[in-house]
């Protein structure tokens, strides 16, 4: 590359590509809506209920993921495993000491377990992706050791019939998810912690220079990410009266896809939980359509992979920095 070519590469192509993002977004939404509405049975009540519960589980993980992404730490691959492990801890502790203790234990486990990762990332400046992959292996390994048979079941007589009902016509899971989304958005908008997350994500060094306590804030982001993810595990356990590590498989991918489709920037510093809510709806609709079209789970991974690649290609727009 010659000296003189440098400016050409950095300015001209970017200028042109930026304008296509809204167009692509609109086109994808229209195509998706067309496919969904022409899929037989999409508008039926069972498929709508299935859509909303799917969105709720993915959504809880995605809300947690959003905090990590905004703080500039890209994403965590361990949140899916955290869902499974939280579900198992919930069932085991409820069997042993009752619902309330089980609920608290599950939240404490998910919050602290994830905060520990945040501490490694924030204090030691460890690579967040590597830390999350290590955590994924660790959580899976420990869960394997504890539950030799793979699945733990709720003690006979435990029933969450009330939870399996509806609130204002919506599945309880979805109402919980909406509540968590609102809470996360309030934290992001109305607390110094939330604003600091954006600042750290936008420029780590500038945040350091204005005196933001980086490791505390990053650890806090992971702590909250764990707390927002935990309900997915708890609600899965209550729905099936059982728990296994299999419950969480794939959630991190769907959550990542939801965050990116929503428009939270992968580099950090920009985004919102409300956008993630929209992203989770899109991912949920795709999954329900795939099921209704009779396609198997493998296709869902394929589609999630394509979506993530597509969004990344649009977001980075030929730059790498």
């Amino acid at each position: 590359m010659s000296v003189s070519e440098a400016p050409a590469r950095s300015s001209a192509p970017v200028r042109e590509r930026r304008n296509i993002v809204p167009l692509v977004r609109a086109a994808v939404l229209i195509i998706l809506a067309a496919i969904a509405l022409t899929t037989p049975g999409f508008l039926s009540q069972p498929s709508m209920l299935s859509l909303l519960t799917t969105v709720s589980f993915i959504g809880c993980v995605a809300v947690g993921m959003t905090l990590i992404t905004i703080s500039g730490n890209i994403m965590s691959f361990s949140l899916g495993a955290l869902v499974g492990a939280t579900a198992m801890i919930f069932i085991l502790v409820v069997n042993w000491a009752g619902f309330a203790v089980g609920l608290v234990a599950a939240l404490v486990f998910a919050g602290l377990g994830n905060a520990l990762q945040g501490f490694l990332v924030g204090w030691l400046r460890a690579n967040p992706i590597i830390v999350s992959i290590a955590a994924l292996a660790l959580i899976s390994g420990v869960a394997e050791a504890f539950a030799a048979h793979g699945t733990v079941y709720a003690a006979a007589g435990t029933s969450y019939a009330g939870f399996k009902g509806k609130l204002a016509g919506l599945p309880v899971e979805f109402v919980v998810f909406l509540g968590l989304t609102a809470l996360a958005q309030l934290i992001l908008t109305f607390t110094a912690f939330g604003r600091h997350l954006f600042l750290i994500g936008s420029s780590f060094r500038a945040a350091e220079a204005v005196g933001i306590r980086i490791w505390r804030t990053v650890t806090g982001a992971y702590l909250w990410a764990g707390l927002f993810t935990a309900p997915a595990g708890i609600m899965l356990a209550m729905r099936y009266d059982a728990a296994s590590m299999n419950y969480g498989i794939g959630y991190e991918y769907d959550a990542i896809a939801a965050v990116l489709v929503g428009g939270t920037v992968i580099k950090g510093g920009e985004g919102s939980v409300l956008r993630t809510l929209a992203g989770a709806l899109v991912i949920g609709i795709i999954q329900v359509v795939l099921v209704l079209q009779g396609l198997r789970t493998e296709w869902q991974y394929l589609i999630a992979g394509l979506i993530v690649l597509g969004v990344i290609a649009l977001q980075t727009q030929g730059r790498r920095d």
Partner: protein, 500 residues
């Protein structure tokens, strides 16, 4: 004799914005032409049109009297135009030789031909660096030396018109002197040079003539000997200009705010001691590598291995913790605005409030209406358009970005200490004047200001106290009338001429 370059009626707009309107100019062989103007005046658009990076909407470019359409940097290069961009574009791990020929269309697939080596050597000779080994990796060179390699690269490719865009922004004074000497030599050999710079001192030292652009229009082209510095600034601003440096207020000495005793940073700063009073601007003058920038970083808490006794208002200041320093109202403004200053995607409003969010909340909830009012007031005080509070800070000009950083420091709960590295680097004249005014206002409020600058003229112009540094040690301290350019220059290049 025909002009090497002649530009006639060049216009370019982006969307609805006119970046350049009907600009004409001509350049002879051997002429060094400065292009001056505030940020947004159209300087870089002009450069990009010449290099074929943008196509003009109207107007013509003629090289050696022949009209040309330049479709890209490669064509510009073939016509004898070469650009040294603001950021260095060398591959650090490759040798000088490789860097000189990297990407050249003249070079065959396997290029280690004697002829190319010789041409590279001649190019180095031309820039006065004939004694350098062509096989040295560029990473072993200083920034000033790399700049010379960039110039040699253009010479080797037979560039006859050299365009330099702020080539000295990151160089120290002795490096600048060397680059300027090389450029004068090139002009004497018949090269024409376009020199884009904010540094008026260099314009008067180096250039034969100056073209002033304002709001995309050509304002004037004059020989530099026919124009004074003040006239040039007024042409750039389009309005009369008071003194660039506002006078120091006659404030009585309020005692020492910051007492630095034997500050050390291993490898950078050795036993530096000084005191900085409130209400005054203390400037630590030193070249790149003198450790001056490290002193301010250490005082800001950004250097974990800094040691020494620092006291603020009689109470010790804990080194190595930025939050601790910010809590004592000690704030830092980095010389690296893009990476360590602004939050590019975040709004102007958030950038203004970044250092003080924690202190405006009720029961943990941020008081946004109040924060918004504060941000509006801060924007007004640092002369940033209030209508731009929602704009992303990364889209602002360098000068406005720097004002945002100052905005963070005003209105602390009590007057604090401001540590500024190169506060006006890469900033146009208008914003520069605003920043000096803000600095004096802060003085009047009782802040202690400590800055570093490698621009001597600024050091002499704005400082109340100057501490000179060389290789990590302080050399001398000057106050008020004792501040003189010659002495400071001698100190910071002390003991004898160093630096290749």
């Amino acid at each position: 004799m025909t002009d090497i370059l002649s530009v006639d009626g060049l216009s370019k707009s982006f969307g609805g914005l006119t970046a350049l309107r009907d600009v004409s100019l001509a350049l002879r062989a051997g002429e060094i032409r400065a292009i001056c103007g505030e940020n947004g005046a159209g300087k870089s658009t002009l450069v990009k049109l010449l290099m074929g990076i943008f196509a003009p909407d109207a107007g013509t470019i003629a090289i050696d009297g022949a009209r040309r359409t330049i479709r890209g940097p490669r064509e510009a290069q073939a016509l004898g135009l070469g650009l040294v961009a603001q950021e260095l574009s060398l591959a650090p791990r490759l040798s000088i030789l490789d860097n000189i020929w990297l990407g050249s269309p003249d070079v065959p697939l396997l290029y280690r031909r004697r002829a190319l080596r010789q041409r590279a050597q001649q190019a180095l000779d031309t820039v006065g660096a004939g004694d350098w080994d062509l096989d040295t990796p560029v990473s072993a060179l200083g920034i000033g030396q790399r700049q010379l390699v960039e110039i040699a690269r253009l010479i080797a490719r037979n560039a006859r018109l050299l365009i330099l865009d702020e080539p000295t922004a990151t160089l120290s004074d002795s490096e600048i002197a060397r680059v300027l000497a090389v450029l004068k030599g090139l002009a004497a050999r018949g090269h024409a040079i376009i020199y884009v710079s904010h540094r008026l001192g260099e314009v008067f030292e180096l250039c034969d003539s100056v073209t002033v652009l304002r709001n995309g229009e050509h304002v004037a082209t004059r020989p530099v000997r026919d124009i004074t510095r003040e006239q040039l600034i007024e042409l750039m601003l389009g309005r009369p200009f008071g003194d660039m440096y506002p006078p120091a207020s006659a404030r009585p000495d309020a005692g020492s705010a910051v007492v630095v005793d034997r500050l050390r940073v291993p490898g950078h700063v050795h036993d530096v001691s000084f005191t900085a009073p409130r209400g005054k601007i203390l400037c630590i003058a030193g070249q790149l590598g003198s450790g001056a920038n490290m002193v301010t970083r250490a005082l800001a808490g950004l250097v974990p291995d800094a040691t020494g006794n620092v006291a603020l208002d009689g109470k010790p200041l804990q080194l190595g913790s930025v939050p601790h320093c910010v809590a004592r109202d000690v704030l830092f403004l980095s010389e690296d605005r893009a990476a360590e200053g602004i939050f590019p995607q975040r709004s102007v409003l958030e950038n203004l409030l970044a250092a003080g969010l924690g202190s405006h909340k009720h029961f943990g909830v941020l008081d946004w209406p109040r924060l918004r009012r504060i941000a509006q007031r801060l924007a007004e005080r640092v002369a940033v358009d209030q209508r731009r509070l929602a704009a992303a800070a990364g889209k602002l000009s360098g000068g406005n970005q720097q004002k945002l950083l100052f905005g963070r420091a005003i209105e602390r709960p009590r007057p604090g200490v401001l540590l500024m590295n190169e506060p006006t680097r890469g900033i146009d004249v208008g914003a520069r004047a605003d920043i000096y005014r803000i600095m004096r206002e802060l003085c009047a409020l009782g802040y202690a200001l400590i800055m570093t600058s490698s621009e001597l003229e600024e050091v002499v112009g704005i400082s109340d106290i100057v501490v000179t540094m060389y290789r990590g040690r302080t050399i001398a301290r000057y106050e008020h009338d004792a501040i003189a350019m010659a002495r400071i220059l001698a100190d910071i290049t002390h003991p004898a001429q160093a630096v290749a």
